[in-house]
Every structure is written in C-alpha cells, then in structure tokens.
Symmetry: C2
Subunit: 174 residues, 2 copies
Amino acid sequence: MSSITPVILGLLAHKPFSGYDMKAIVDRSTRFFWAGSYGQIYPELRRLEREGLIEGEDAPNGGRTRRVYRLTAVGREALREWLLGSATTIEYRDESLLRLFFADALPREQALQLLAGRKHGHERYLEVLRAIGTPPETDPTFDQLVLQWGIDFNEWGAKWCEQQLQRLRKQKAA
Amino acid sequence: MSSITPVILGLLAHKPFSGYDMKAIVDRSTRFFWAGSYGQIYPELRRLEREGLIEGEDAPNGGRTRRVYRLTAVGREALREWLLGSATTIEYRDESLLRLFFADALPREQALQLLAGRKHGHERYLEVLRAIGTPPETDPTFDQLVLQWGIDFNEWGAKWCEQQLQRLRKQKAA
DNA sequence: TAGTGCATGTAATGCGTTACATGATTTC
DNA sequence: GAAATCATGTAACGCATTACATGCACTA
C-alpha cells in the first residue's frame, strides 16, 4: 500500500473515475494535506487492478483512450480497513514557523514583521480555500467538513498571529 | 541552500555547536515542523565551511573527535537574508484528515469515531509538547513562542473536533 | 565489562515530483 | 489552425530517512 492507495480507493467509493479524473480531483481537494502525482497514480492503478481491489474498463472518448476504474468488494473492504486503522502519519513542514523560531536573531521590530507575514500567509490561504466553496452549515458531507477545517484553521492561525503581535507590542511598551 | 541550511545558521547564531549537538536540538524542537538528519547535517556543515558561512574548530572531548562550528559574518548575513526572505514552503500531510475526507464511505457512527480519534491525536500531541516545557507568559523568546503555537494549535484542534462532534450528533437527532 | 551516550560519517533505500513524450479532441 | 484540455504513461532527478560502520568515554 502506497500513500496514494487510500486516495484512489476513497474516490472510487463514490463513483468510477479515470486516473486523469482522480489527479484533477486531488489537485483541488486533498492536495492541501495529501498530494498525489501521475507518477504515483497510474502505476498504482494498474497494481490495484492486478491485485483485484479495483476493476478497470476501457471507456474511450472518441479516439481518445480512457480507462475508468471502479471499486471491487475486496477494494471496498480494504478501504474500510484503512479508514478504521490507527496508523496515522503526520508530516508538517512550515518554513514560516522555522523563521519565527529563529527570529531572536533579528531586531525586535523585524521579528514582529515575521509574525505579520505569517498572518498574511494565513489570509491568502483562506482566499484560496474560500474560492473552492463554502461548506453548508447543516448536514455537510465529510469532505466538506475537511474544507471547513481548512478554513477554520487558517482563521484561527491569522487570529493567533494578531493576538501575539498585540501582546508582544504591549510588553515592549511596558 | 538545502533545507537544513537555515537550521544550522539559525542555531549557530545563538552559540557554537557540533553537528551532533544540532541534531539533538533539532530532535526536541524544530523537528515537529522541520526535521533534519545526520545525512543532511554533516555534509552541509562541510559545505557551509567551504563556502565561508561557518567556521569549524576541533574541540575533542579527550580522545573523542569533536568539531564545533561558529557563524561567520557572511553566514550571519545569509541567515538575515533568509529570515527576511519571502519564499515560504509549507508541506502538510495528515492521514487523519484524509480519513475524515473519505469518511462518507463509513456508517455515520464510525465516521464520528474518526473525529473522536483525531481529537485524541491532538491530546496526545499536547502531552508531548507540554513535556518539553511551558513557555512563560511574559517575554517569551521566539523559539518559546513557536512551542506556544504548537500547544495552542493542538488545543484548538482538539476543541474543533469536539465541537463538530457535538454539532453532528445534534443534527442526527434533529 | 557491558551498555549507554558522545561523535562523525556514508551508502543504500525509498519516495515523490518534474519533466517529458505521445496523441486525440474541443474551443477560440 | 493554434491553443487548451483530455488522457496515459515513464524516466530522471532530487531529497530525506534509515541503517550501518567506526571508535572513544563514562557508568553501573
């Protein structure tokens, strides 16, 4: 099982897709917390078919080759197991946080500017996520709930920066 | 400039360290958002010395070889430039969020359990961070501020999960 | 004297991204 | 008819982790 496997199974649980479809969907949804590339998707699609977790069917668009896959019962069970599993990788790399970590090497005012810059980063991210759509208040699907998480997280992050900024400025004055 | 470069320069801005020292420091501080390994550190140390950003000095402990590095003026300027730079990589991989994204494939109650599990993940992370230390309320250094961010973030995350859990349970009832 | 920590270093491994190649179809 | 989009696929590349190798020093 590679890192892209659950994405493929998860998407196909909804409805059949081609590799190209999946890449497009990933690029405007999971990529914010789980990226994927053709170099992962296509080989894995063939492997999963060989192993019987998915089934492919040729569905050309005119003379344009196209192969759509659907989940088998075995694949659905594999997805269920992964969903219920407990192993959970978290990888977080945040250069802005690293800068802040070393900000003591900077004059006070410039260090505070790093906080302001981070706040701005959250705000820009927020715009990107809001452009994707606004999840409904009631009965959101779980994929919409995750988008809501992204929005809430960035709002929280921007607010956190602002609060620290005010706190640190006040202390300087005192 | 590799990903470990700013870490080396940033640490040496404080005081001289050996490669071994730096790895140990990284492992209990930046690794939560910026990891580093010997395979990166040692080669980069020699490169940075060759380029004149740092200077090494042999400082053996008895017969145990040891080489400590300090920042040169050129290195300090390079650090300053990186700190003030705007390029900012963010990479976030969160399997728990991916699970939640595909949770529609699960019976309602099991899907909600994923939220509970995520909350638990935040709480465990919180314990790890609190074991490192509690940043002071007043006049924290910036590295302490980043630790505070980690604590605040996980508190927020746990609370978010709890709120969604309550909201989704109430909706089911309605 | 065996185990742990200090200390440096590299080779192998695994991974994902990037870039490229190919070709059909739709759109302006 | 040019450009964008659909569609599949792979090779090269870069990068970080893992594992291993070496050897000294301290401590139980």
